[in-house]
Symmetry: C2
Subunit: 247 residues, 2 copies
Amino acid sequence: MSDMKSGTLFGVGLGPGDPELMTLKAARVLSTAPVVAHFRKSGRAGHARTIASAHIRADVIEAAFEYPVTTEIDFREDGYVSAIRAFYEESAASIAAHLQGGRDVALLCEGDPFFYGSFLHMYDRIKTAHPVSVIPGITGMSGCWTAANAPITYGDDVMTVLPGTLDKEALVKHLAQADAAVIMKVGHNIEKIKEALRAASRFDDAIYVERGTMPGEHVARLSELGECAVPYFSIILLPGGRGRRIA
Amino acid sequence: MSDMKSGTLFGVGLGPGDPELMTLKAARVLSTAPVVAHFRKSGRAGHARTIASAHIRADVIEAAFEYPVTTEIDFREDGYVSAIRAFYEESAASIAAHLQGGRDVALLCEGDPFFYGSFLHMYDRIKTAHPVSVIPGITGMSGCWTAANAPITYGDDVMTVLPGTLDKEALVKHLAQADAAVIMKVGHNIEKIKEALRAASRFDDAIYVERGTMPGEHVARLSELGECAVPYFSIILLPGGRGRRIA
């Protein structure tokens, strides 16, 4: 293998969900890549794979890596960490085998690969041994504020992105200081997030978005959402406007 | 005009600068729009227009709105506010005339229209009278962290976006609390920003990016940049990594 040119790992940002919100570059790379890899929940088609489907070659080699555990387990638990670390090691080895064989690999990434991407677990393991090229994508949050018709920042607004996994006090502190905010990873954190928004006097402005830019898209004022279970990847938006000086 | 169907204003996000980082949807809308509008500096071709050029119809009606003042004047100055308000009113009236005539208008927007976009000055003036449809784009900051090969957020990182126009104390306060940060609108604010980064003990991690994803792209450690004038739209990145627990 020593005299074979390595393939390149492409981290292909697919955008927020609507397949038409993929970039021209992503579509081009997908249409030529001999190997397409993606992560998915066990037994599912895989969301990233569905977004990309129109552009993937008929003769492609597919590598689907199935998560051994759900993404909703707290990642600080020991059992989760050991299981997922082994999973990422095996997935990276599988990708590296293709690269060593001279085959480019397009790894499908929802949103933007460098913004909270599971791609990073592969990037950090592969970048020192093989060429890596990243294609940015529209973030999920951008898809959500577009779906909500909610301009997120004007002028000199400060915007903060907060994982809903933070404790309530940390959420309140950050919400009190930001003009605009995006809260990701909502899921079972929703009641804590509501309490934090009330404590920061921002509850009435909050917008809930589920499946932004996708079939089943749902946008609502958080105050009108009621007490229901919500998906992990739903997003809460607090639009800015302090910088809206020239009206 | 009362029985004519209004045209739709499309806010077309063009992404960070590389024309191939436009979305499939943006390219489709540009290729069919009868009117293309854009903002530009006086006497320039216009950056947005250059990014979009391959997709615009040969028989298109073009509306180029030339800023009466530079974007680097502090927008809180009275003279700036009155000049630019009149300019935005005239531009919106020009767009509205096409919409009233039944013609769709594609307004070109660098980056993402709802994220610090000059598009918002048109959106707020037109949305109550005419249909508006927004196509999100990859933000300039995403293009910059991709160009810098700098994953910006992992796991449960908090990310804050800060305009470089903030005063030093505000910058320090926000920088001290964020895991990852993006400082926009650098320009003549750069020395103040450097001082704030030093005061927050984050100077050594800062990355400077100019013209990310475009010809003339320049990426450097901020500490190695030296004392030079930099453009207004350059960006400083502080990559996260606190959430990088599963390595």
